[in-house]
């Protein structure tokens, strides 16, 4: 018996771990990822694998440079989550250097230069995405339309590595803008939504972008599982999606010709991924109960504002980064009433 050491209570075996949380997030993303692969091909798998590899390598390198223990942090799973989120934000056909630049920036600058796990004020994956979107707008906005299956695994891999396309195709014939992007551009040309949906029939499905609506649904299911497992709580997703829904409804009702429906906003882009997997990143999100509602609602409003009046078709990344900035302030002003204290 080791009687000399006296430890502080509680004396219970560990119930939880960062690794467990991160792995749960990874698994909850899988249904959405698989649906993604079904509609857009193998490019995502290649991007994810490459991103994870680069993330772990840079993570290990930075831990070594910062003289931190490598194994506990390398196995915490946070780098894997960052890599997957960034890979999901990339276009399906992404050259290798795009992924490497984005992931390296996310891990080295957005995460470790701020102090590593737990200390980064901004969501690393979203920082990486924002950098890529600003630096390489052409590569970042050329997406495959859903259900183009003549890009097999080898074709995708060949593109990623050498940027060569299958014979008889060109980059421009293969790719198109995303449904959100299309709607934004066409609305800018004074077309009505009906005209847009007719002229780009292949892009749209039941309520939102073709394929996208199913991917969003799957991410939502994965997110609900995370809430059920208490890995994340319901406040941020509900506030985010609820606000987005309400504000989209308010604007769509009087002007249904030029304002897409709330369903289009919720299921057309990255709203579900953002609500359940990005905005809920504990390190960068608000942490008080009321603060989480404000934080989620803020992201919801910003998504709608940027999508509708801003310069980018999807806005999850910028909305999240903007609210990351507000997190300390939100937390400060939303401290819960402590037991036995009067309400302020």
């Amino acid at each position: 018996m080791n009687s000399q050491q006296v430890h502080s209570s509680p004396h219970t075996p560990p119930q939880n771990s960062v690794t467990r949380l991160m792995l749960a997030v990874v698994f909850a993303m899988l249904p959405g990822c698989m649906t993604y692969v079904y509609f857009f091909g193998w490019g995502l798998v290649i991007n994810i694998v490459l991103a994870i590899f680069v993330a772990l390598a840079t993570e290990a390198g930075m831990l070594r440079l910062r003289q931190r223990p490598v194994m506990p942090f390398l196995t915490d799973g946070s780098a894997v989550v960052t890599a997957m989120l960034l890979a999901l934000a990339l276009p399906t056909l992404a050259p290798w250097w795009l992924t490497i630049v984005g992931v390296t920036f996310a891990i080295v600058i957005a995460k470790h230069l701020y102090g590593g796990l737990g200390y980064n004020p901004f969501n690393p994956a979203m920082v990486g995405y924002a950098v890529l979107l600003i630096a390489f707008p052409r590569e970042m906005t050329a997406w495959l339309p859903a259900e183009i299956h003549h890009m097999g695994f080898m074709d995708s891999l060949r593109y990623t590595l050498f940027e060569t396309l299958p014979a008889g195709t060109t980059f421009d014939t293969l790719t198109a803008a995303t449904p959100l992007d299309t709607v934004k551009t066409e609305l800018g040309l004074d077309h009505t939504l009906d005209e847009i949906f007719t002229s780009h029939a292949g892009l749209f499905g039941g309520v939102a972008g073709r394929g996208w609506e199913w991917i969003n649904l799957m991410f939502m299911l994965g997110g609900l599982v995370l809430i059920y497992m208490k890995v994340i709580n319901w406040r941020i997703p509900l506030a985010l999606l609820g606000t987005l829904f309400i504000i989209a409804t308010l604007f769509a009702l009087p002007a249904p010709d030029i304002r897409p429906s709330p369903w289009f906003h919720l299921f057309g882009g990255a709203a579900m991924l953002g609500a359940f997997f990005i905005a809920t990143d504990p390190v960068t999100a608000a942490t008080t109960p009321r603060g989480q509602l404000i934080y989620g609602a803020g992201i919801g409003i910003l998504i709608y504002v940027i999508r509708t009046w801003g310069g980018y078709p999807d806005a999850v990344a910028f909305a999240v980064l903007l609210m990351n900035m507000a997190t300390p302030t939100i937390d400060y002003y939303t401290q819960p009433r402590v037991f036995g204290h009067e309400e302020d």
Partner: protein, 551 residues
Amino acid sequence: MKRRLWHFHGGLHLPEHKQASMTKPVVAAALPDEIILPMQQHIGSPAEPVVKVGEHVLKGQRVAKASEYVSAPVHASTSGEVIAIEERGVPHPSGLPLLSIVIKPDGKDEWTELKPVPDYAQLDPSALRNVIRDAGIVGLGGAGFPSFIKLNPGPDNAVDTLILNGAECEPYITCDAMLMQERPRDIIDGLLIMKHALRARHCIIAIEDNKKVALTLLKNSLQEHEAEFLKIVSIPTIYPSGGEKQLIRILTGKEVPSHGLPIDIGVVCHNVATAAAICKVINEGKPLVERYITVTGETLDQPRNLKVRIGTPCIDLLNACGWREDQTDEVLMGGPMMGFGIPALDMPTVKTSNCLLARPKDQPHQQPAMPCIRCGQCAAVCPAQLLPQQMYWYARARDFDKIQAYNLFDCIECGCCAYVCPSRIPLVQYYRFAKTEIWAKERDKEKADHARQRHEFRLQRLERKKKEDEERRRRKKELLKKTQPKPDSEADIKQAAIQAAMDRVKAKRATQKQQKKNIENLNEKQQQAIEAVEKRRQRLRNAGADNEENP
């Protein structure tokens, strides 16, 4: 009729591990070779020994008296010889040794003369409190606050509800559950005595709903008329429902104000074991010399509850339950959530010891802590509605002002936050550290304030003395300077009178001198007579001067 219950924020459903120690009835632990009675087994100032080494004491005899109001006497838990009064290690988180009376049992376990109270209802509450104080009764739930003080509501407070806490929410611990099963009537009788002392209107015995047997047995021992004012309430099993503030919230929906006491909202809360002990004092005259202790854990062959003489070394109890030392990582006093490791097992059990828990080798502290990822799971389970993640941040940064702004002192150290923390941060340890640092700082500040005050007083004193001296000198000078006395004050009139008298004397002397000039033509006889007179006068004058010098 189902009583309405309230919720408190957070809390945990913990694996109970209670069944293991509840399968066997409670038996008395064997008489040990040595009984060690620390002088402080309670909150307050230590007791003072009233026996000497070599003295023979009887079971139940007072061996130490309460030193102050907040203090409790200590009684011998068996008969025998006092073989030492010295500092011994005691199981306390501080790990500091305490003055203890060591008794070598004579094996007869012979009681001293017992004086039961025949009819407590005839007794004035204050007299009743004195009996309870003299019996050394302290809160047996864990804190060990002298019970008679908590039975004194004070002149300005009315007690609406007296709550007996039988929640026993910590895993593994079952001593209260066993007590409720085996001595339900004692608990109710004790409660009635407490009710009399407090003049309480309502009484509630609260039991977590995982203790069905205890609940039924208690209800069965309730007499018809008692059911009007005494309710036995089953509460949901959620840790820490047995925390005083949490339990009051569950039962009444009211919150004890921060830095306040339950009596502020008309509630008093005692432990069931305390009630049983008070029953023994009044009905049998027996002071607090024994209690139920749960001896349990994965590395015991026969986990069970024992009736233990207070002062029995921990190791004797462990051995009585088939302890496997080689598989044990550490032995805790108390439960896994709030207990503390016992540094040496020859330390005695004390009045507040409710459980000995032997832990196998799978401790959380063997895992390295990761950085806080601010997931907020700690805040979600905190029964005090604190933000543990923020407090941790400021404790680490040693920002003690900020951590108090986050209400550190409302933390009850229940351990829920550390239990759920995915980063395995020993959060409670950080809060204890911060509290200790703040207390130390306050003591230092008090000392510094005191020293500064003394210094300032000294400076003031010196300053005053200087001023007074100056004033005195100034007055003297003025007095000397004053040639024309102005009779506008009593002193001046006096001065003027003196001056006038002196002037008269001067004038007289002048005339005398003048008269002397007229005695030039005297005869020899006259001359001699004058000289003789002058000499005498001179002598007298000298003597007068001597007298003035040596009065």
